[in-house]
Every structure is written in C-alpha cells, then in structure tokens.
Symmetry: C2
C-alpha cells in the first residue's frame, strides 16, 4: 500500500553564494510550503556549516517532511519532499533556476510503502537549463 | 559529483503497537546513530499523531539526516538515512525485524548529486522475513 510520495531533487550548477544564503533558502522553503499548502509542525531545524560550508534544514510536516542540504563547493543542492497527502508536483526546475541559479535539475519521484517497488522509481525529468551567463561552467 | 548516499527503507508487516511506541522507536534511532557513528546536531524533531496515528521523527546530522514515519494502520514504517560521509550499510532487515517486527523490508540506495542518475538507483535488497508467528497476515 502506498503511504506517500517522495520527491528527490538534485540541483546542479547553482550559485555558491546562494547556497550559503540562509535567508534566500528560507524563502525557497516558504514558497514550497505555501504553494503546496503544507503544514509545518514545531520549529524547523536549521544548521549552517562553518566557513565556506553549506546549509541544512529540515521541516517536520503534517504531510511528512521537507529537507535540503547545500554544497556550495560544488554548486549543488539536494532536496527531499515526502508527502503522505496527495500533492501536485512543484515546479522544481523553474523555481530552483530562478532562486538559486540552478542550471540542471533532476527530479525523482518515489512511492513509499509499496512492496512491489521495481516500478515505483520514476525519473520524472532531467532538464538542462541553458545559462544565459556566458563563461559560466557547470 | 556524488555528494552523499541516501538509503530509503520501507518496512512492512510491523507490529502496530510498536509503530506507536515512541520509546521503542527512539531506541531504534539511537542504535542506528551509535552503530554508524553519526553525529546529531541540535534537538531531534518528534511528533506523535493523535489517537491511533503513528510517529514521525527527524534528526539533523553532521552527515545529513535521519528520518522516519510510521503508519500503524497498515503496519508500515519508512526510514530515510542520508549521509554525505561514507558509511557502511546498516543491517536494516535484521534490525527492523527484531525491533518492530517487520516481516518484509526493502532498502533502496540512491546516490545524491550525480547528474547521470540512471544508474544511481540501486535496489539493494528485498527480503521477505518468514514470520514464526502463525496466523499473522501481512
């Protein structure tokens, strides 16, 4: 029996400074929560790693959880959104391009709680976002 | 570039009372953290849903995060363990059978942060645990 859907999102080629910007990352999470009408339980956990390190945050939701980890040194951010209530798919590609400058985004959608799982891992999309900023390398 | 390994574990046929037992579930998480030498950052988030509902917990780790959700009504528990530091694979099958009575456990291992992801979803194992308790149905 399916008990929820989990999206695993990996965003590449992001702006390093955005991946250390707690306020910016907060606004991304707030938008996800708002757009999908998610309900946060308690205080989210946030941690900013020292020096040039990234940021981690975890939200416990009535619907399950939202988390992310950023790796400024390689321009990568990874998100997990686990929902036990049916929710539409967020526009990760467009939104992460606009907010943290992602140039490539992969979204994997995985059904949780199914005993027959060989058909439950679906690669939803891999899109390559053509950068308009010349000279920037992935 | 690989930035971490995430294990997605779905356990089926668990004892409903175990999936509502916060102390028992705490001891399972403590064992995972101890066995894999993980480091918890801040206070973990816990939530017990009302009535016959399940339990959710999330640990922010130096290594990334550990979370679980239980669904006593269908005997299911799902765990996520995301580690950006190389860690051995925990013995989910044996440990979840012994602790929460799981009769079937699936473990998926997913590499995070790789742009070529079609080969990064590996179904590590599906094992069926033969119950010694007669008359118990999955």
């Amino acid at each position: 029996m399916n008990v929820g859907t989990e999206w695993l999102i990996d965003a590449f080629g992001c702006q390093a400074e955005s991946l250390r910007d707690t306020d910016l990352l907060k606004s991304v999470c707030e938008r996800i929560i708002h757009d999908l009408d998610l309900r946060v339980v308690g205080e989210p956990l946030w941690h900013k790693f020292a020096g040039a390190g990234g940021v981690t945050a975890i939200f416990l939701l009535t619907e399950s959880h939202l988390s992310f980890h950023t790796y400024p040194e390689v321009g990568t951010a990874t998100f997990n959104l686990y929902c036990c209530r049916e929710r539409p798919r967020w526009e990760w590609e467009e939104n992460l391009q606009a907010s943290i400058g992602a140039r490539q985004v992969t979204v994997r959608e995985i059904l949780r709680g199914q005993t027959a799982i060989d058909d439950t891992v679906a690669l939803n999309s891999i899109i390559r976002i053509e950068s308009e900023r010349e000279g920037r390398e992935l």
